[in-house]
C-alpha cells in the first residue's frame, strides 16, 4: 500500500442498505404508472396532459423556491414530481389545465417549502393542494366531469336492470345514474326526500332501492375494479392501484399497517352502516365502499406518506383506523360524497399526538 493513500475514516456501520430517498420517491412514481396508463386509456391524452402538467409544475416551482431560499436544489429526488402527480390524480379529466398548475404551486409552496421542504411538512402537500382547489374552485373541481367512453359514470351500465326506459320514467334518476360518480349516487340515495321524489316520479316503484342494488351488484363492482366509471384521474382503477401497491409492498417502500387498517375499517363499518336507511346490509356493500372513490389511491399512496404519518407501529394502526372511521362518517353522514382526502388530512394533523401517545417501551423496560 502506498503510504500516501488516504483511508476513509467514518463512523460505523460501514455497509448500507441500497435504498435511498431518491429511489423511494421514484419507485412510488413508478407504482403510479399503471393508474396513469388506465386513466389515459379511459380519457385520452387529456388525462396524461393534466397529470404531467401537475408534476412538472411542482418540480419547476420547487426548484425556483429552493433557488430563492439559497438551498441546494433537490428536485431530482422525485418528491416534488410525486406531489404534483398525486395532486393531478385528485382532479377529474375534464378540469381546465390551470387547475393542476395552481394546485401544484400551492401544494409545493404552502404545503411543503414554507415548512422547510421534504421531511418537515405537517400534512400531505398534495392533499392540501386538493383541499385548496376544492375550497377555491368547487365548481371546477366537482362539475364538468367526463364520462369514460361507452360507460356510465356511476358504473351501472345496464339500466334495464333498474327499470325499462328509465329516462322517461324518472328523468331525475336517469340523470343521477348517468352523470354522477358511484359515491355521488350512493350519497344522493341517503337522502330520503330524494328517494321519495324519484319513486313518485316513477309511479310508486322503489326506484331508489333498485338503483342502490344496481350500485352494489357484481357488474358494477367489476366496473369499479377496472375503473371505467366517473372519478378523478388517478383514483378510478382499483386494479391499477393494487398493482402499484403490491409493487411498493414487495419493495418494502410502504408498510402494510396503514392501508390494511384504513381499508379494513371502511370495509367493516360500511358492512354495518352502509345500507340504505331502513334496509338491511349485504356482503356487496363493503366491496362497493372499498372499491369506490379515492380509497385505494388514498390508503396506499397518500396515507402512507412517510413524513405525515406516525413513526410507531401502534401509531400507524391508530392512524389507519382513524382514517377509515372518518372516511365512513363523511361518506355516510357528512356533506360530501367522498371523505378520503379530508380524513387523511385530519389524521396528518393528529400524527404528533399519536406518536407521543404510542412511544414504545424499550426492550427490557417494564411498563410503568
Amino acid at each position: 500500500m502506498n503510504k500516501n493513500d488516504k483511508l476513509i475514516v467514518s463512523p460505523a456501520p460501514h455497509v448500507h442498505d441500497k435504498t435511498t430517498v431518491k429511489n423511494v420517491m421514484w419507485n412510488v412514481v413508478l407504482a403510479l404508472v399503471p393508474a396513469l396508463i388506465f386513466a389515459t386509456y379511459y380519457w385520452g391524452l387529456r388525462a396524461l396532459l393534466l397529470s404531467l402538467t401537475g408534476a412538472v409544475t411542482a418540480v419547476v416551482c420547487e426548484a425556483i423556491i429552493q433557488k430563492l431560499r439559497k438551498v441546494p436544489i433537490t428536485v431530482n429526488d422525485g418528491s416534488a414530481f410525486l406531489t404534483g402527480l398525486l395532486l393531478a390524480f385528485n382532479i377529474h379529466a375534464g378540469a381546465p389545465i390551470w387547475l393542476p398548475i395552481i394546485g401544484a404551486v400551492f401544494a409545493i409552496t404552502v404545503g411543503k417549502q414554507v415548512f422547510g421542504g421534504l421531511g418537515n411538512n405537517p400534512v400531505n402537500p398534495a392533499l392540501l393542494g386538493r383541499a385548496f382547489l376544492m375550497a377555491s374552485w368547487p365548481t371546477h373541481m366537482t362539475g364538468g366531469w367526463v364520462a369514460v367512453k361507452g360507460a356510465a359514470m356511476s358504473g351501472i351500465n345496464n339500466l334495464s336492470h333498474i327499470a325499462t326506459n328509465l329516462e322517461q320514467l324518472s328523468p331525475k334518476a336517469y340523470e343521477l345514474v348517468t352523470s354522477a360518480t358511484p359515491l355521488n349516487v350512493a350519497k344522493s340515495l341517503r337522502d330520503s326526500s330524494f328517494i321519495a321524489e324519484i319513486n313518485a316520479q316513477a309511479g310508486g316503484i322503489d326506484l331508489g332501492g333498485r338503483i342502490f342494488t344496481g350500485l352494489t351488484e357484481m357488474e358494477t363492482l367489476k366496473s369499479l375494479f377496472w375503473g371505467n366509471i366517473g372519478g378523478c384521474i388517478g383514483e378510478v382503477s382499483v386494479f391499477a392501484l393494487l398493482l402499484g401497491a403490491a409493487y411498493l409492498l414487495y419493495k418494502n417502500i410502504i408498510e402494510w399497517r396503514i392501508p390494511l387498517f384504513f381499508i379494513g375499517t371502511v370495509f367493516v363499518l360500511s358492512f354495518i352502516f352502509g345500507g340504505l336507511p331502513g334496509s338491511g346490509t349485504s356482503v356487496m356493500l363493503p366491496f362497493f365502499h372499498i372499491f369506490s372513490g379515492g380509497l385505494m389511491l388514498g390508503a396506499f399512496f397518500m396515507a402512507t406518506d412517510y413524513t405525515t404519518t406516525p413513526l410507531t407501529k401502534q401509531g400507524r394502526i391508530i392512524f389507519g383506523i382513524g382514517c377509515g372511521l372518518l372516511t365512513i362518517v363523511i361518506r355516510l353522514v357528512g356533506g360530501y360524497p367522498e371523505g378520503v382526502s379530508y380524513s387523511i388530512l385530519f389524521m396528518n394533523v393528529m400524527t404528533p399526538l399519536i406518536d407521543r401517545l404510542t412511544r414504545p417501551k424499550a426492550f427490557g423496560r417494564v411498563k410503568k
Binding site: M1, A12, P13, H14, D17, T20, E255, R359, G364, R365
Partner: protein, 439 residues
C-alpha cells in the same frame, strides 16, 4: 430445523464467502508487536516491565489495575523497545508496550492438567484471571469479572455466543469447526465456575456445518444444547441472544446475570480451556483478514499485538487501492486512519474495502419513514433520538431511548436518508454522561 430469534433486526449480505472456507492458518511470529494497555472495558493495565528489558513469550508484562481490569502478557519473546502511545484499533491513540522479536520465540513453562474439570472453582477462576482473558467477541469485558457474580446472584445458564452476525467475519466459525471440543470443554469449565446446570451454544443458520458438528459432539453431554438461530443482525448482541435462546429479557440497564445468564464468546471459551488446562495466557487469537480487496482472505491465528499491516502483507496484499480498513466487522467496527494499528484480544476481524465501495453518501433530512423504528432490536425510535441530540434536547432523547441503545447500527444501515444515527446517538450518550456528572 426450527430457528429461534429476537424481534426487529436487519438482513445485510453476510459476505462470509471471502474467508469462510479458509482454515485457520498460524501466522509466523512477527518482528514487532504492540501490546495495548487498554484491550478491555475497565482500567488500563499497569506495565511492570521497562524499556530495554527482555521478555519471554507468555511472560506477564502488565498487571491488572483494579478489579475491573486485565493482565497483559508478552505475545512473543524479545526486547521491550518502547512504552508509549500507539494507534489503537478503535482509531484513537492509546498506551502500549512495544516488543521487538529476538527470533527465538522462547516461551514460559506451561503446565498440563488433564483433569482440569476436577480443579476447584477458586483455582479455575484464578487461572482465568492470570491468563488475562477478556471477552473476545469485541466488547472486551474482563472474563474473570463476568465469572464472579456478586453474592446472592444465581446463574443457571451459560450461553456461548457462536452467532458471528457481523458480515464478513469468520473467525468464530472456523473455531467452531476446528476447535469444537475445546469450545465444549471451555463451556463446561464456565458452567462449573458459575455452577450453572444448563449450557447453550447459539449459532446462526448460515453456519449449518458448525451446528451439525457441535450438535453431534454435544449429544452425549448432559445439559448442553446447540441452538440454531435465524440469520438476522444483531443476533449476536448479548440481550438479543439471551432472548432468542431462553426467552428471558435482560432488564434495561441490567446485566445478563440479572436473569441468571452468563454469555461468553466461543473464542473466549477456547481461551478459558487453554488457561484452565495449560495455564496458557491469552497471547494469540484467530482474526479474519477479509474483504473484497484483500488478495487471499484468511483466518489467521496471530499473536495479540501483531500489526494490521503485517496481517495484510501475509494475506498477499491488496488487489485494489484500499478505501477503508475496518477493525472488527462492518456494522460496529472502527474505520482506521492507517494499517499501523495492532490487533488486540478482541480483534475478530480486519475488513478491507476498496476506495469506491467505501464512499458514503451525504446526509439527507429525515423523511420520518420509520424504517429505523421498525427494525430497532431495542424497540426505540432512533430518528427521534438523533434529532433530539441534534437540537440538544437531552430529555427528549432519553424518552426516545438514548440510554437503551446498544449501538448495533441497524438503524443507520436501513436509513434511506443516510443519517449517521449511531454517531448522533453516541454524541447524545456522551453529552448525557457529561450532564450527569455536572449535576
Amino acid at each position: 430445523m426450527r430457528l429461534k430469534t429476537f424481534p426487529g433486526g436487519i438482513h445485510p449480505h453476510d459476505e462470509k464467502h471471502y474467508s469462510a472456507a479458509a482454515p485457520i492458518t498460524k501466522f509466523p511470529s512477527p518482528q514487532r508487536v504492540i501490546v495495548h494497555l487498554s484491550q478491555h472495558i475497565g482500567a488500563p493495565s499497569n506495565p511492570i516491565v521497562e524499556k530495554g528489558e527482555t521478555v519471554l513469550k507468555g511472560q506477564l508484562i502488565a498487571e491488572a489495575a483494579g478489579f475491573v481490569s486485565l493482565k497483559q502478557h508478552a505475545p512473543i519473546s524479545g526486547t521491550v523497545t518502547k512504552i508509549g502511545k500507539f494507534l489503537h484499533p478503535t482509531g484513537a491513540m492509546g498506551m502500549g508496550i512495544e516488543i521487538s522479536a529476538d527470533g527465538k520465540d522462547e516461551m514460559i513453562q506451561l503446565g498440563d492438567e488433564e483433569n482440569f474439570l476436577e480443579l476447584p472453582v477458586d483455582v479455575l477462576k484464578e487461572r482465568v484471571s492470570n491468563a488475562g482473558i477478556c471477552g473476545m467477541g469485541g466488547a472486551g469485558f474482563p472474563t474473570f469479572v463476568k465469572l464472579s457474580p456478586p453474592e446472592g446472584t444465581s446463574i443457571d445458564t451459560v450461553i456461548l455466543n457462536g452467532v458471528e452476525c457481523e458480515p464478513f467475519l469468520t473467525s468464530d466459525y472456523r473455531l467452531m469447526l476446528e476447535r469444537s471440543e475445546d469450545i465444549i470443554n471451555g463451556l463446561k469449565i464456565i458452567m462449573k465456575i458459575v455452577s450453572a446446570k444448563a449450557g447453550i451454544i447459539g449459532i446462526e443458520a448460515n453456519k449449518p456445518d458448525a451446528i451439525t458438528l457441535l450438535r453431534k459432539l454435544c449429544a452425549k453431554e448432559r445439559g448442553i444444547n446447540v441452538v440454531g438461530l435465524k440469520m438476522k443482525y444483531p443476533q449476536g448482541a448479548e440481550k438479543q441472544l439471551i432472548y432468542a435462546t431462553t426467552h428471558r429479557k435482560v432488564p434495561a440497564g441490567g446485566l445478563p446475570m440479572a436473569v441468571g445468564v452468563v454469555v461468553q464468546n466461543v473464542g473466549t471459551a477456547v481461551a478459558i480451556y487453554e488457561a484452565a488446562r495449560y495455564q496458557k495466557p491469552l497471547i494469540e487469537r484467530v482474526i479474519s483478514v477479509t474483504g473484497p480487496v484483500v488478495k487471499q482472505p484468511m483466518n489467521l491465528l496471530a499473536p495479540v499485538g501483531t500489526l494490521f499491516s503485517d496481517l495484510v502483507e501475509y494475506s498477499g496484499g491488496l488487489t485494489q487501492p484500499l478505501g477503508k480498513a475496518i477493525s472488527g466487522g462492518p456494522m460496529m467496527g472502527f474505520a482506521l486512519p492507517s494499517l499501523d494499528a495492532a490487533m488486540i484480544k478482541g480483534s475478530s476481524g480486519l475488513v478491507l474495502i476498496g476506495a469506491k465501495e467505501a464512499k458514503s453518501k451525504a446526509e439527507h433530512t429525515c423523511l420520518r419513514c420509520a424504517r429505523c423504528v421498525d427494525i430497532c432490536p431495542m424497540n426505540l425510535i432512533p430518528s427521534t433520538i438523533a434529532n433530539a441530540v441534534k437540537y440538544n434536547d437531552l430529555d427528549m432523547a432519553v424518552k426516545a431511548g438514548l440510554n437503551d441503545c446498544i449501538k448495533c447500527g441497524s438503524c443507520a444501515y436501513v436509513c434511506p436518508a443516510q443519517i449517521r444515527l449511531v454517531q448522533w446517538i453516541d454524541t447524545g450518550k456522551i453529552r448525557y454522561a457529561e450532564a450527569q456528572r455536572g449535576k
